[in-house]
């Protein structure tokens, strides 16, 4: 009899807990995988496909499912890798490719034939133009992903280094020598270099 009571009590508790859990999973259902969103948030969103996946969300999905490594994002560099490894709870891995300097696409407009192929390739709609009108890149929106270079039939798109401006300059870490840009003024004295 005692055994029966124990079984009934525990069984009843299990039943109640089960019902509560079932209701909660319905009531607080989360659309999508929260891990994918978290990983996507630390990616640089260049949509460049250098990781081998067609965009940042697909890569985040692959990492979340354990299919892809944490160190494949090239533009994100070490910082993204560390953040992803932290989220996934796996040991950090070396980023194989060195993150390049920030680049921008530039259309040589006099050579552009207006084929719109690059416009279709741009993942962030940063190229404007119309058929048979030359195209141009919106500098502020270009992520430097290089996806527009390949489709161009006349090879008129160059990747140029993003110009460093004074407003975006920040102090280098102590001990690292700051780089001083080339001479800006003809009258610049020779000792400019020696005062660095």
């Amino acid at each position: 009899m005692n055994i029966l009571m124990a079984i009934l009590t525990l069984g009843g508790m299990a039943l109640i807990a089960g019902i509560v859990l079932a209701v909660a999973s319905r009531a607080f259902h989360v659309e999508g995988d929260p891990m994918v969103d978290k990983i996507d948030a630390v990616l640089p969103q260049t949509q460049c496909g250098q990781c081998g996946y067609p965009g940042c969300v697909p890569y985040a999905t692959a990492v979340a499912s354990g299919e892809a490594d944490v160190n494949l994002c090239v533009p994100g560099g070490e910082r993204s890798m560390l953040a992803i490894a932290d989220l996934m709870g796996v040991p950090p891995k070396e980023v194989e490719e060195e993150a390049a300097v920030p680049m921008l696409a530039f259309v040589r407009e006099d050579e552009c034939i207006g084929c719109t192929l690059c416009i279709k390739a741009c993942p962030v709609d940063a190229i404007i133009g119309a058929p048979k009108q030359y195209h141009t890149v919106i500098e502020d929106h270009c992520t430097g992903c290089t996806l527009c270079v390949e489709p161009c039939p006349v090879d008129c798109i160059d990747m140029v280094e993003k110009e460093q401006v004074l407003e975006e300059w920040t102090w280098a870490a102590p001990g690292k020598r700051p780089s001083v840009p080339q001479t800006l003024h003809k009258d610049e004295e020779n000792h400019a270099a020696s005062t660095v």
Binding site: T46, V124, T143, L166, T170, W171, A173, P178
Partner: protein, 529 residues
């Protein structure tokens, strides 16, 4: 730290009020204190950066080859937080180009080049407002805005913004900052001695503009002559509501928040302005510039600068046109050869080393210090491990824990750094000054602040890119759906008619065949003919 603890336990009465925590007293080296202000001659060329203030860059109003007059506006502000640029003398605009500016990066900015014609003819379009006491404060503010006046203590924040009348936060006290706590610098000291009357009138303009009840002229006790002169001038002017307050000589007494704490006993809370505690703080140089702009109608075209340091043969206080190349100014003080000389823009504690020498003197230049390479401390100092002596904590005027903070900044743990209130650091340099291990603490904080801003910017850009990418995906999906819908619609419309169409098509081909035969026949006939 300790004052905060006292406050928490309601014991702040025990803590000596009327002072900021920490601070240092470095050797003063005020070697130019007795040298009167010298007016410098015009240089062969003036270089005027289009941005010499905090805020938006200006747009040039003049073209190359155009002749300008002294005081003529040559670049206008493009945003609210901005200050226009005026021609320091009459002459010809010879170029608009990038030129190196006094900045630790050594990078350039768009600058206007002016070749003086030597006549120095003034632009007299701006009439003086002599009866400013009966003038609308909004008009005075507008005059200050039009005159391109910025905070001349070194922060170069547009002055007119600080003078906004806010109903919710009325200004009770105007503090005139004559502390000049940085070693070597004496330009404010000389200005108070030689132009006491103008400085006080400038202060009166400010007090009228913001409707302040009382004013305080704050001077450190290492300048007894300036204190006496200012007291005398106040008495002569009959300004009953203004007093001179003598402050203990302690760096950074002249920091805005520190000065307010010393004088009013109130702390400006994190992220708030002096306005929120009913105080407006202006440098004595700014007060003089306001006097010139309002009472004389002269915009900000020159300023007083201290030229000092052990490499300068004749250290002096000079009154220079803004835009004068720094090598020209140094040559006037006897320093021609700049090899093996290190230039510091500003004071030795907060100033920045200039990687380039051919740069113009700008609105923020309160001092130019030239040192021999070997006498510069940072040249020999080698960073050693922190020994946790805690001196930096004792001297920090912002009540931070610099050693812990630097530890996080060094390891790129910027979020931890922000937990230690990284952005409350005023970069005064007290911690680096006292550190026995020669750790460049302020450099670490500047690095971390820059990195935090950079990461924030990158994150914002990533968000924007993501939004654009999502918008593109949605658009592509929508276009595809529309195309599919259109196709199915066309198919549905033509579905019943499809069979008919097929039949007519067949008929047409038959007719076509006969038609072709006809033409062929015609052709053959033609050939025969």
């Amino acid at each position: 730290m300790l004052p905060a603890l006292f406050e928490r336990f309601g014991l702040n009465q025990l803590w000596p009020t009327g002072g900021f925590p920490g601070g240092v007293h470095p050797p003063e080296h005020k070697i130019t204190a007795d040298s009167p202000i010298i007016e410098l001659p015009l240089p062969p060329q003036l270089i005027l950066p289009l941005k010499q203030h905090i805020g938006e860059i200006c747009a040039p109003l003049v073209e190359v080859g155009q002749h300008v007059l002294r005081g003529q506006k040559i670049a206008k502000s493009q945003g609210y937080v901005s200050a226009s640029v005026h021609a320091p003398t009459s002459g010809t605009v010879v170029g608009v180009q990038d030129h190196a500016v006094p900045h630790p990066s050594g990078m350039g900015r768009p600058c206007l080049m002016i070749e003086p014609d030597g006549e120095d003819r003034p632009d007299e379009s701006r009439a003086p407002i002599s009866d400013y006491r009966n003038e609308d404060p909004a008009l005075i503010r507008e005059r200050i805005r039009m005159s391109g006046i910025v905070g001349l203590g070194g922060a170069v924040f547009p002055t007119f913004i600080k003078m906004l009348r806010d109903q919710r936060h009325p200004v009770q006290t105007v503090i005139l900052n004559g502390a000049e706590c940085e070693p070597y610098l004496t330009c404010d000291h000389r200005l108070m001695l030689e132009h006491a009357h103008d400085v006080l009138r400038g202060m009166d303009v400010i007090m009228h503009a913001v409707n302040a009840q009382n004013g305080v002229v704050a001077i450190e006790d290492n300048k007894p002559d300036a204190i006496a002169v200012m007291r005398g001038a106040i008495e002569a002017a009959g300004m009953d509501n203004v007093e001179v307050r003598t402050l203990p000589t302690r760096y950074p007494q002249g920091g805005e928040k520190q000065l307010i704490q010393t004088i009013t006993g109130k702390q400006v809370p994190e992220g708030r302005l002096p306005l929120h505690v009913g105080v407006l703080c202006q440098n004595v140089g700014t007060a003089k510039a306001i006097h010139d702009a309002v009472c004389l109608g002269v915009p900000l075209i020159k300023r007083v600068v201290t030229i000092s340091g052990d490499a300068v043969p004749n250290p002096a206080n000079v009154c220079v046109r803004i835009g004068t190349p720094i090598p020209f100014v140094l040559a006037q003080c006897g320093l021609e050869d700049l090899n093996d000389v290190r230039l510091i823009h500003g004071g030795p504690m907060m100033g920045e080393r200039l990687p380039r020498t051919h740069v113009p003197l700008v609105k923020s230049t309160n001092g130019i210090l030239a040192f021999h390479r070997q006498s510069l401390y940072s040249e020999q100092a080698v960073e050693e491990p922190c020994i946790r002596c805690g001196h930096c904590v004792e001297v920090c005027p912002a009540g931070l824990v610099p050693n812990e903070l630097a530890w996080h900044c060094r390891n790129d743990q910027f979020d931890r750094g922000q937990d230690y209130n990284l952005f409350d650091c005023i970069e005064c340099g007290c911690c680096s000054y006292v550190c026995p291990s020669h750790i460049p603490l302020v450099h670490y904080f500047r690095y971390a602040k820059g990195q935090v801003a950079k990461i924030e910017k990158e994150r914002a850009f990533a968000e924007l890119s993501k939004a654009r990418s999502e918008a593109r995906d949605n658009r592509l999906a929508r276009e595809q759906a529309e195309r599919a819908a259109r196709r199915s619609k066309v198919r549905k419309q033509h579905a019943p008619a499809a069979d008919k169409a097929a039949k007519t098509a067949e008929k047409k081909t038959d007719e076509g065949k006969t038609g072709e035969g006809k033409t062929e026949a015609v052709k053959k006939e033609g050939d025969k003919a």
